[in-house]
Amino acid sequence: MKYAYYPGCSLECSSAAYDLSVRAVADLLGIELREIDDWNCCGATEYFTQDELTACAVIARNLALIEPQLNQVVAPCAACYLNLKKVDNLMQQDPTLADKINQCLAAGQLHYDPGRVRVRHLLDLIHTDIGEEAIKDKVVQPLTGLRVACYYGCQIVRPYKGDDPEQPTKLDELMTWVGAEVVDFPVKAHCCGGHMTQISEPQAFELIRRLLQNAAEYRADVILCMCPMCQLNLDAYQNRVNSFFGTNYQIPIIFFTQLLGVAFGLDWKKLGFGKEIIPAEPVLRRKLTAPAATA
């Protein structure tokens, strides 16, 4: 299975662990990821607030750069996924806009035919294209006894029609396949605050607190993320939230691909563990007593 791969800026730096674990897990599952040559930033949420055509053109450039023999692109970051999908959709629905975007692209000798590439989120790809049987086959270290809260965030659930946007379940199912104990997490599709931390800390911290509180109430050992923004907010701001509210949460926040890698028995260093601020390794070591060799 070959897919174009759009890592996005976050995966180069703050979410390097996501990139590492995505590549390691994809490799093991036989997913060939072909990184788009010379890709650029998707503009996150900011560009769209300035100028629609510019924002679209910046994003469409990445779609146009995809090799002609590939017809699917996977973006692990929720914002990248949403932006790529949005622009492809806008171009399909509005031929005038599509023409304008292609005029912009022509400056770089590029062109994109709307609908040529199907934009996929990594979770959907692993859940649907790989499927239950193949995943279960690869498990060497079942995650028995590990209580995970599956956090979807708000960006991937809306444009994607294959799951319930209010109470999605695909990651829950995936984690059950690898033996983890999925806790109830009613706020699983609520907002993490996004860039609100830069604008108004009290507002952002309250949103983060609600998520941590809910996970703690259900005694989750870790919170799994699939969006760099969510992971950053919950992990990097956890101690600041604690001092702001006088709480004492210490919940490791990791990417779902990291935990999949653990279940598949991959080398923890290659999965990017140790880059998170609230350390995940002690919790995982304590919970996953059965060593890989005997599993």
Partner: protein
């Protein structure tokens, strides 16, 4: 001999005259169209003066054909045909053309509209000259009626007809008649006990000498037409012989298999594998559910058979298909509740103490699974606070756009029952309070007095994710209170979802069998939304109750009685007139290819294997013309839609293309000059 045609152009007040120069059209037709001897315009052609004018012209001018250019023939074709008949002209020599719905109401340019009106008048004139006098024929009306659906609307219709002395077959899909009303505890706004007012009607229907109950049965096929329908009905195997069973109930008592009752108890209670849905069921004859019976699962048990004192249990029973002949059919198939699981943010199916309105009805019912106690899902804890959410799946463009109509009142009723029986606080989350029938608004005010809390706003979410200590262990209602202009979080113990009323899942399928149509939302379409609310476009088939749209009990009963009255009218008259607009086959031309046999949507063509020709059963033919178009030999003609008539109409509409300005038809300038 040339025909003498009269043309009558109606102003319809300003409805037509506002957009079409009707005087010019009339003048033009009189001056230009061949064989037109009289051409007039008039303010309201359908008035008695307008009709008298036509009648007088027929007599004085010796008209042999009449064209009325006015509104849709749906509205006034009968009027003008009758006027012609009064003056001694065959009614099928009168042709209407529609200048209102087809021209003035849909046009913006007066000149173009006037030109179009002329073309249509020309078409009608050319056509009417080709028309032939036809004689309608009559069929006897079978006095028996089939009522489909044994809820309150169907029961009412059944009893009205039976009491008037006519035989009725009452068909019901489930094992007992009674419908949704049998599930309810109290009825709004007077709070009379639902069972107390319903069960007398049920037992009356069960014992009435004129009523044949067909429970646990479904419609398989419908043929024939008004006056003489033939209906095939599948009587599902009960595995209990109806003539032997006395309804003693020993089988139900001794059956060892208990299963959750998803139908009558809405999943809140249990029933046995052999069961009657509820104690007052009519008939009292139980059925065996093959999906839960131990015998059908693993060929063991048969306890019911051993213990039945009258040997009524018969495990060998098979479905039986019976055929009924009836003159009219009343459809009263009711509604089903919206699947509240679809709105996942309200948590039904995920959060234990979220209930549907039907579950709550059963809980309030003294004969229900909790004996009328309002308790949480654990079956014992009385809630301290209850939230009732309105418009779940209705007034919501994601699900159903329509208002379900009854839910506001049902929610108020629930509020009253809770306040009467518990110490709980009750919150109603509504968008608009809709209480617009007799005594309803007063009931709303009563609840305001009784202390029910009303919050205007659509609930965003029901969650168990607590943010504050006082929310722990509760269900939290997140809502924008649009009167306060504030977001609120209200912790409660129990949530009741007022699910929308939806058409039955197989409403369209039954509609196809009957030849009646559904609205976009799936409700059966009445003949006219205001003036003919219980008839359908198919003669002899009537609708009553919630299958035609969301309705409460009083409205359903009124419609049941109205449908029965319409049927009685048909029966009393004794015969119905059948339009002579039917197809006929010229036997000499028919090759017996039988292409038309299967195409006919009304099964109105039979095949004579001896003569090897097809033949139209005139009483069943609707004159749709499908066979006429399909016949490769051109052996079929449709009366009133012959090739000559249709081609003449086309030539008429293309008058300017055929004759041009230099042709026989003079331009407007030439006329006025």
């Amino acid at each position: 001999m040339a025909e003498r045609v009269g043309v009558y152009v109606c102003h319809c007040g300003s409805n037509i005259a506002g957009m079409v120069d009707v005087e010019q059209v009339a003048r033009w037709a009189g001056a230009n169209l061949k064989d037109v001897v009289v051409s007039r315009d008039y303010k309201f052609m359908c008035s008695s003066l307008g009709q008298a004018m036509i009648e007088e012209d027929i007599k004085k001018e010796g008209l042999t054909r009449v064209v009325v250019a006015a509104c849709s023939p749906h509205l006034h074709e009968k009027t003008f045909r009758r006027a012609c008949e009064n003056a001694g002209l065959n009614p099928y020599l009168c042709q209407m053309t529609n200048l209102r719905e087809h021209v003035s109401w849909v046009s913006k340019d007066r000149d173009k509209a006037t030109e179009k009106a002329k073309a249509l008048v020309s078409a009608a004139v050319e056509r009417v000259k080709q028309q032939a006098p036809l004689e309608p024929f009559f069929v006897k009306v079978n006095p028996a009626t089939l009522v489909i659906g044994g809820g309150i609307a169907g029961l009412q219709a059944t009893l009205e007809l039976a009491d008037a002395g006519y035989p009725v077959y009452l068909l019901e899909r489930s094992p007992s008649v009674g419908g949704h009303m049998a599930q309810f505890d109290k009825t709004f706004p007077t709070l009379d006990c639902s069972a107390c007012i319903l069960t007398p009607k049920m037992s009356e229907a069960g014992q009435h000498p004129n009523v044949t109950l067909l429970t646990y049965s479904e419609v398989e096929e419908v043929s024939g037409s008004v006056g003489h329908f033939r209906v095939k009905i599948r009587k599902k195997a009960r595995f209990v012989e109806e003539d032997k069973c006395t309804g003693c109930g020993i089988c139900v008592e001794k059956c060892p298999r208990k299963v959750v009752d998803e139908d009558f108890e809405a999943g809140l209670g249990y029933r046995k594998a052999i069961y009657t849905p509820f104690p007052q069921a009519v008939p009292r004859i139980p059925v065996i559910d093959v999906n839960s019976c131990i015998w059908f699962e693993r060929q063991k048990c048969r306890a019911c058979e051993k213990l039945c004192p009258t040997n009524a249990i018969n495990f060998e029973q098979k479905d039986e298909v019976i055929t009924l002949d009836v003159g009219n059919i009343i459809v009263a198939t009711g509604w089903k509740m919206f699947d509240c699981r679809k709105i996942s943010q309200y948590g039904y199916g995920r959060l234990a103490n979220v209930f549907t309105a039907l579950e709550f009805e059963r809980m309030c019912n003294a004969a229900g699974p909790t004996g009328g106690k309002i308790v949480l899902r654990d079956g014992k804890t009385e809630p301290q606070s209850i939230a009732i959410i309105h418009c779940v799946g209705s007034r919501d463009s994601n699900y159903n756009e329509y208002c379900s109509g009854i839910c506001c009142m049902a929610a108020l009723k629930f509020g009253h029952l809770v306040l009467e029986r518990t110490k709980a606080e009750v919150y109603s989350f509504y968008i608009d309070m809709r209480t617009n029938q007799k005594g309803y608004e007063e009931f709303y005010h009563r609840l305001l007095e009784e202390g029910m809390h009303f919050v205007r706003g659509k609930v965003a979410e029901v969650t168990d994710a607590a943010r504050r200590p006082e929310e722990a262990g509760k269900l939290i209602i997140q809502v924008e209170d649009t009167l306060l202009g504030k977001q609120r979080r209200i912790p409660v113990d129990m949530v009741v979802l007022m699910g929308a009323l939806e058409p039955q899942a197989d409403a369209k399928e039954l509609g196809l069998k009957l030849g009646i149509s559904c609205s976009m939302a799936g409700w059966y379409t009445e003949r006219h939304p205001k003036l003919d609310p219980v008839a359908t476009m198919t003669d002899g088939i009537f609708v009553a109750g919630a299958c035609q749209g969301p309705k409460d009990i009083p409205a359903s009963v009124a419609q049941g009685a109205a449908a029965a009255a319409r049927v009685m009218g048909m029966i009393t008259k004794g015969d119905v007139m059948i339009e002579p607009v039917v197809a006929s086959i010229v036997e000499e031309k028919c090759s017996g290819c039988r292409i038309c046999n299967n195409l006919c949507p009304y099964n109105a063509i039979e095949y004579d294997s001896e003569k090897q020709v097809s033949r139209v059963i005139t009483a069943m033919c609707k004159g749709c013309g499908t066979c006429v178009a399909a016949c490769p030999a051109g052996a079929i003609t449709g009366a009133h839609f012959s090739n000559e008539q249709v081609f003449a109409e086309i030539e008429g509409i293309l008058w300017d293309a055929i004759h041009g300005n230099g042709g026989q038809i003079k331009s407007e300038q030439a006329v006025s000059a």
